[in-house]
Amino acid sequence: MSRHVDRWVTSSVAITAAIFVAAAIIGFALLPWGQPGHRFTGLWDAICSAAGLVRASPASEPVVQPGYQMTSVVVTPQMLSGASAESIGRGATLALRCTMCHGARGMSLANTPNLAGQDPIAIYKQLADFQTGARKNAIMAPVAVGLSDSDMRDLAAYYAYLPRVAAEASGPAGAPPQIVANGAPVRSVAPCGACHGTLDSKAGAGWLSGQPVVYLRAQLDAFASGARHNDIGEQMRNVARGLTHEEIGVAAEYYAKLQ
């Protein structure tokens, strides 16, 4: 290489390096360290923060824990896919103890959830939450407490396997009301139908068609008041708090009628 090329190499590398070093000094040291009221313990601490290192909160700031038991279920879309026939069979046996409220084949008139054809992840998650106390219910908690993890998976598989049949209250639901189809964008309320059926269904979200209107209303009220809090991202509490009583009624009645 000629001397001419060397000059290009040295100067271009030097200019690039100088720009990087200057930007790094400003971005990693001067800006974080120079912020008025910063709470770094030293310059190195500031640099680590600017580098994006995950740091524990200072001991002086205790982590605030919620005053209730949170759900411990991590929902992934494929977590219960591919249930075996044995699993469904075991679930059918276990389900005998559920028939009093949820009906012989997952359908009843007891204003309890109709479980036939329900999303298995939703059933599994609710059972697990009843067991840990993340969701409270005087009847379900003692029923769920003795179930093993595989029992809950089997029950979920069994009820998901049962065919969805028209509920007693179902009838012509008509076009989905606006709160179901569109939500309320200005209030950051997503459409019910985006997760719970009608438009789409999302993992862990219950399939709502044919559920008793009393039950749906009660759950939305419970989310709104915070009495029910097993939605880990507060997604249902945030939605329910943003709904009017009228919208809760309209949505509940629509889903109750939907086949």
Partner: protein, 540 residues
């Protein structure tokens, strides 16, 4: 028609056919979310359309135009047959198959995840595999550009590489390296989940990988446009390129600093440290340099042409320019849109100002003005300029061409200026409907309606463009003569090796990528507990 011309035309036609379809979807999207239409019943249809529009406009159109134009430049600038014609056809076939593979699941509603993927949303694996095929096809082009350049250099030792080829190869290298980020994201993060092998995804890391691609891809889209500024415009208006050196420097600067700046797309993302964001912001500021160099050089070249044509005075020479020439007209429109879009870009890259416009319609306005406006209008100009040489038939509808360029320019301004405005009012992007009855939003209804009208104008303009090209295919045969690129005012006789090759600049590009991305990527990979459950969108 020779086989290579047929191959180049195939690239252009596939690109423009996709463009026409995606333009229709874009206009529909603007209408359906405007106050002129009632709320769409199923927003999934809207996102399906947005995914198809974005995938086609961002991946298919510019990649195929860059490939086709690149092959054209290699043949005409180096004045020898393209090496690897069969490989070029293979690359085209991969891109075509990839396009279909990606578009079918979108049309079926199995991949409404938008073209930037947005993990943890996961669509059908076929969608991502289709995108990968398009990228692999374009990597064949990258390799062929390199092979043709080095074969020519071996046969012409010491001679300056023709500027058009130098710039094209710079663009191909930029693409080759910047596509690696999205390829890593797709192959190691998204596709394993889409195929059901894994159920969680590190969305933050995936976004960092995508940002590696996301900004430099814009400069890859820009490359044919800048090449046209330098190598087509001065010749088309009877002038000379002001400086060959300045042009080479601009493309080298793009190669080096367009790449390590993508974190400015992550300013609001918590997984990247503020220090790296600042460094990326600094290099983003630097990438305005090659654009400023280009604006200076091209304005100087245009002034040379005007004075050669008898133009006088401080600004009086502007009147002497051949404004009825579509190349002149299109470039002027492109510059105006580049000016406004570039000014908006400076706001986006400013770490603090970005918080004001983040995820608003301002951003949609910005990239439509730069890409759909400044860049795509030059794709039209390129097509008009090379069409007679590809088809061997005259392209004579100059009035129609001018009308097309005017309508595209007006339409794009009418679309994007209201978008910028409503973005400042806080209107979010990526929404299927807005509640214009709400007093907070009622004031946005009028500008949104204006932009719908702009969309309709663009639709007319896009149709005119396809009509002009289709008429060109049926025009009488002519002998178009030898295609020429612009000649510099002082054509270089000898060049320093640094301005005639890429070794130094590629080394700097890779080094800056490692310095600017290495730590955030390694840190995120090494941090446990950063995975989140995937959200399946039609992939179940």
């Amino acid at each position: 028609m020779s086989n290579s011309r047929r191959m180049i035309l195939a690239h252009f036609w596939l690109a423009f056919a996709g463009f026409g379809a995606a333009l229709l979807l874009g206009a529909w999207q603007m209408f359906i979310r405007s106050p002129l239409s009632s709320w769409i019943g199923d927003p999934e249809l809207y996102y399906r359309s947005v995914t198809a529009h974005g995938t086609t406009m961002a991946y298919v159109l510019p990649t195929l135009v860059a490939m086709g134009f690149g092959y054209f430049v290699a043949e005409t600038a180096l004045q020898r047959p393209l090496i690897g014609l069969r490989w070029a056809w293979l690359g085209f076939a991969l891109a075509a198959v990839g396009t279909v593979t990606a578009v079918v699941p979108i049309a079926l509603g199995r991949a409404s995840v938008l073209y930037t993927f947005y993990p943890p949303m996961i669509g059908s694996a076929f969608y991502y595999i289709g995108v990968v095929l398009v990228v692999v096809g374009s990597w064949i082009w990258v390799a062929l550009m390199s092979v043709n350049l080095y074969s020519w250099k071996r046969d012409n030792p010491g001679r300056p590489v023709p500027f058009a080829m130098f710039a094209t190869v710079a663009g191909s290298y930029l693409w080759g390296w910047t596509a690696v980020g999205a390829a890593l994201e797709l192959l190691f993060q998204i596709i394993p989940v889409a195929l059901g092998w894994r159920s969680t995804i590190d969305a933050g890391l995936a976004r960092v990988f995508f940002s590696w691609t996301l900004h430099a891809i814009v400069y890859f889209w820009l490359m044919p446009t800048y090449i046209a500024y330098y190598t087509i415009l001065p010749r088309a208006i009877g002038g000379r390129l002001y400086s060959d050196w300045m042009g080479r420097l601009a493309f080298i600067l793009f190669l080096v600093v367009a790449m390590p700046i993508g974190a400015h797309h992550l300013f609001e993302d918590p997984q990247v440290g503020s220090g790296f964001k600042f460094v990326h912001s600094t290099f983003t500021a630097l990438v305005s340099l090659p654009t400023l160099l280009t604006v200076f050089t091209i304005c100087a070249s245009v002034e040379i042409a005007a004075r050669l044509r008898g133009g006088k005075g401080l600004l009086g020479w502007l009147g002497a320019l051949p404004w009825d020439n579509p190349v002149m007209l299109g470039t002027a429109f492109s510059f105006i849109m580049l000016g406004f879009g570039g000014a908006g870009g400076l706001i986006n890259m400013s770490y603090q100002l970005d918080a004001t416009v983040h995820n608003t319609q301002w951003i949609t306005g910005h990239f439509h003005l730069i890409f759909g406006g400044a860049i795509v209008i030059m794709y039209f100009v390129i097509a008009y300029d090379v069409w007679p040489h590809l088809t061997g038939r005259a392209l004579a509808s100059f009035g129609l061409m001018r009308l097309q360029l005017w309508t595209w320019f007006i339409g794009m301004i009418v679309v994007t200026f209201p978008w910028h405005y409503v973005g400042l009012l806080g209107m979010p992007r990526r929404m299927a409907y807005y509640d214009y009855n709400d007093p907070m939003l009622a004031g946005q209804a009028a500008p949104v309606i204006m932009s719908v009208i702009g969309g309709a104008i663009l639709l007319v303009s896009g149709a005119l463009f396809l009509i002009v090209l289709a008429r060109g295919q049926r025009a009488p045969r002519i002998e178009p003569g030898t295609y020429r690129f612009s000649v510099a005012a002082h054509p270089p006789q000898r060049l320093p090796a640094a301005l005639n090759g890429f070794g130094l600049w590629l080394a700097l590009m890779v080094a800056l990528t490692i310095v600017n991305y290495g730590f955030p990527i390694v840190h995120l990979m090494a941090t446990p507990g950063t995975e989140v459950p995937a959200v399946l969108i039609g992939a179940g």
